[in-house]
Amino acid sequence: MCHGILKEKGVGMMHYAWLIPVFPLITFLILLVAGRVLKEKVAYIGIAGLALSFLLSVLVLLERIGGETYTYVLNWMTVGENVVTMGYEVTALNAMMLIVVTLVSLVVHIFSKEYMKEDDRIHVFFAYLGLFSFSMLGLVLAPNILQLFIFWELVGLCSFLLVGFWYFKPEAAAAAKKAFLITRIGDVGLLIGLVLLFNRVGSFNYAEIYTAVEMDQLSAPMITTIALLIFLGAVGKSAQFPLHVWLPDAMEGPTPVSALIHAATMVAAGVYLIGVMYPLFLASSTAMTVVAYTGALTALFAATMALVNNDIKRILAYSTISQLGFMILALGTAGYVAGLFHLMTHAFFKALLFLGAGSVIFAVHHRQDIRDMGGLWGKMKVTSVTFLIGSLAIAGIFPLAGFWSKEEILASTLINGDGFLFLIALVTAFLTAFYMFRLFFKTFTGEFKGGDLNDPTEETFNEQAAWEATQSAEVGLDAGYEERKVYPNHQEVPENEPRENAGLMTFPLMVLAVLAVIAGFINAPFLGHQLEAFLTAGLNVGTQPHGALWLAFLSVAVAVAGISLAWAMYVKGFIREDFFSSKAPSIHKLFQNNYYLDDIYLAVFVRPTKEISLLLWEMDKTIVDGVITLIGSLTSRSGKAMGKHQDGQLQTYGLVTVFGGMVVIGLAFAVRGYFG
């Protein structure tokens, strides 16, 4: 009945798109206020909120398909003669993104209900998740780049909060800070970029920016500058080289968070940003080249690092970086749809992989080292199968989702990029398949190497121990005590064998697995590139490249080669596991240590800054304040010196008086010339 009224007024579902982010916001507020009281039930509220959002998103998408872009804005602020507006907008791209975000968020909510059930701060967790969903959806719905930036920062905040959710773990706290800080570098670039845009265009609105670009209101160097600054934002958020270092560390957060934020949605915001600003990028070939090479290099570097890591989540994190690099590469080579398509498919299968990893971690009691795993295939059926699907999808095996999108990316690299980029893309595809299946085989095949799951001495992370050793001087001797106490999920674990988790955890896996299988078809060539048509309608983003059939075969072949190598090494042992590491130990070490980037940053930026600051502080105390102190002491010292003449001898006083008189005479003589 409501529907009828709306129809009469000519207002569709899209008018109510603003409600999509509001539902999670409401859950956030409810949980913030009443979370402690609700305790166990918080998950239902969160799930309900997201479910509503998801439903509404579906309705909006359905209406948007074949409909027009819908925009609604309010005055937000007056700046001189310019009015800055805020509101929401439903375009093809964000209609798609709404679905991706709400869906992944929903399944992550469901997964978390089980995963986090033993944490006594579960209400906080769900509150944060709600806030994140709100921010991410707000980001997506933004009709202007300022609003995007606002929510962009908010998702950064949520990432900070969720990475640092287990704040009592020093490494989680450090990782949260690192994540926020490094993305902040990119954010400042983005901020400056949009400020420059505003100064030139007089508005933050996408539409007006597009128009300005089209009408050549901006000079070419300015476009390049702005595009690069905006891209800097994307580099930070999407963890591209060289600002990617935060993402692996961000794995300190709970695994559902990694799935939602650091795989599917937030990190993809950078790609989304480039997508939204695409006309601007297209106007600058320099910017496009930079984008393409950054993406390609990131994809390759991240893949190499994923090869050698042993932490299940970190491998996935490097994989995420690598895949994001792929998307950026696609966008940089004019593959607008390819990049965004991969964004979507990646969201599904990477969320799947993370949740699968979460399921595994949960089952083996929060151990993450794949060397301690193995042989889970038989013990965790659903997890294993879905994980396999995810791995196949990311490797790009026909006909899973990853295949379609990756093939398009390869196509755009080949057609619009140069051979070098294509080569990198191919190598990366090979490496992707290899490391994913290295992970898969080590985790799910062979024998379980975890030992007794209830042995507390086993629960150590090497890195953590090292970190704590450095920190112990600061945090005090009770650090070890705290560590024992605070891990919420270890207590009362009766089993000492990993086994499949409850349905609430496996159901999301299944949903995502299905999507990882079918999502690719929406832009499949034989179905007529539906997504491309939808996304490019009415937008000037250039013609989309499509590859020939041989490319598809090549892509699958590369993937199969990677899988085979992994199989040969980790299942059959044809090649020794330490074959490469022993042949080229320095390269292995390089990969393992993240190309020493963290150390370089520490040595080049962090330490000098701190040294300079200490120096400045010293200067502040001694020179800047010292001058003031000196003036003060000079004043009182000169007071003392003047007072010294007051020696109690009246004849001294008389003498001073006489000499004072002489001075006065001299003064009169000198200044006025009395006697002249």
Binding site: Q646, L650, T657
Partner: protein, 487 residues
């Protein structure tokens, strides 16, 4: 024959004060040497107040007795300041003498009244001789008062230093005056002033010498640097109420007479320009020296002496900048403010130092706990002396700033402002003692006698009132034609 032809009613206040002073002395004479005689103090205060009323009521139109004795607004205002000041000093003294019974009370009060009489004569006189006699009545009475605690080594030493240096200063003044007389054949300031422009052309060196000698002498009396050296010692050694008397009454009367002489005799026809710069430099040095040395002082009375030197520097500024009704208004306003804030402060200082028996600044420790009212009042006085808002001192000081700036002596205003900030340090050092330090273990709650309470309350009221509504006074002052010669 001036004696017979004159309207002596112009001198009614002086005559009645003289009569009352003699009455006080006679009554004291008849009631024996020893013992406490509070009634004499009260009588003295009453006499002074009666005289003050007479000053207000009589001769609003002004007039003069020959060239000798002027009754103009300037003189009347300063007479009021002197009378009220001495009355308040005597009220402070009543407490002090109560604590120091060895001091002869009747003599003390009558000499103080004679001093007031001399000061009154001085500010009214327009003749070198009358002026000199008035000045000497005040000075000799002051010498005596400074040494009144004759069994006290500090007191006698102070008196000795004062009398020797003061005598020398008198000689300097007289030597300067002798040339003024010699060159004009007259002792009338007005006549000297009329002859001055020509004389200055003729004998620049002699006139300059005469001016400088008088400047040294009077500079000594009002304690401006470099003729200030006596002040800290004498202020420190004298009985505290006498210090108050010297800081306020003696200094303000000195200022009045400096203004009188230098405006009437040296003031016009371009001669002001010749010496205004010297005065400005001295004002600057005075402000700097006073404030800087005060920073290092621990003795309350000595600190107040340096503070008083600095204040003298402030008072000198408008005088150095410009002559006329405006500067007189500013000077008189600041004099009133100075009178009230300094006397109020001295009332509290007398109370505290007499109670603790020492004059170190630490005797103020925790005064707030011992007597909140006194502490708050003292804070207001100090804040006013420092020149912070809502007090008369602020308005007075800012007026001087404005005058200096308007008179093209911005540099002087700048020095004044900066030294004022320096003065915050020691004024707030007091405040720190009172509010932020615990009282010493043996200090009990302070009993505040009625006389001191009255002085403090009146001063407090005036300081605050003038700080908020300075127009009460300024509106009156603006109507005045301060001196006949200003037209």
């Amino acid at each position: 024959m001036i004696v017979l032809e004159t309207d002596w009613s112009l001198m009614t206040p002086e005559i009645s004060l003289a009569a009352l002073a003699l009455l006080v002395f006679t009554i004291d004479f008849m009631t024996g040497i020893h013992g406490k005689k509070p009634f004499i103090g009260r009588l003295a205060v009453l006499s002074l107040l009666v005289t003050a009323v007479l000053v207000i009521l009589l001769n609003p139109g002004g007039g003069s007795i020959g060239d000798l004795f002027l009754v103009d607004p300037f003189a009347r205002l300063f007479k009021l300041i002197i009378l009220i000041g001495v009355a308040m000093v005597i009220m402070i003294s009543m407490y002090y003498l109560d604590r120091n019974p060895e001091v002869y009370q009747g003599e003390y009060y009558s000499i103080m009244m004679f001093a007031a009489l001399g000061a009154m004569l001085m500010v009214s006189s327009a003749d070198l001789i009358t002026l000199f006699i008035g000045l000497e009545i005040l000075s000799i009475s002051s010498y005596v008062l400074a040494g009144f605690k004759k069994h006290h080594r500090h007191s006698t030493e102070a008196a000795l230093k004062y009398v020797i240096l003061g005598g020398t200063a008198s000689a300097f003044i007289l030597y300067g005056m002798s040339f003024l007389y010699g060159l004009t054949g007259s002792t009338s300031l007005v006549e000297i002033g009329q002859a001055m422009p020509v004389l200055f052309q003729q004998y620049p060196a002699l006139v300059g010498m005469s001016f400088l000698f008088m400047l040294v002498g009077f500079g000594f009396k009002i304690s401006i640097v470099p003729f200030h050296m006596w002040a800290p010692d004498v202020y420190q050694g004298s009985p505290t109420p006498v210090t108050a008397f010297l800081t306020v009454v003696s200094k303000l009367a000195g200022f009045a007479i400096v203004i009188r002489i230098f405006t009437l005799a040296f003031g016009f026809e371009g001669i002001h320009g010749e010496w205004s710069f010297i005065l400005a430099v001295m004002a600057a040095i005075t402000m700097i020296t006073g404030n800087f040395i005060a920073l290092t002082q621990n003795n309350v009375k000595r600190l107040m002496a340096y503070s008083g030197i600095a204040q003298a520097g402030y008072l000198l500024v408008p005088f150095a900048v410009v002559l006329g009704d405006f500067s007189s208004t500013v000077i008189v306003f600041y004099s009133v403010a100075y009178l009230m804030m300094t006397l109020g402060a001295f009332a509290v200082i007398t109370l505290v130092t007499e109670d603790s028996g020492m004059t170190d600044i630490s005797s103020f420790a925790g005064l707030y706990y011992r007597s909140p009212y006194m502490a708050i009042a003292m804070t207001v006085f100090l804040v006013s002396l420092g020149g912070l808002p809502l007090t008369a001192g602020f308005i007075g000081k800012v007026n001087i700033f404005i005058l200096a700036a308007a008179g093209d002596m911005l540099w002087l205003a700048i020095i004044m402002i900066l030294t004022s900030v320096v003065s915050f340090y020691y004024y707030f050092g007091f405040i720190k003692q009172m509010f932020m330090t615990e009282p010493r273990p043996n200090d009990k709650e302070l009993f505040v006698p009625g006389g001191l309470l009255t002085v403090v309350t009146v001063s407090l009221a005036v300081v605050l009132l003038l700080g908020i509504a300075p127009n009460l006074l300024l509106d009156i002052f603006n109507q005045y034609n301060w001196m006949p010669s200003f037209n």
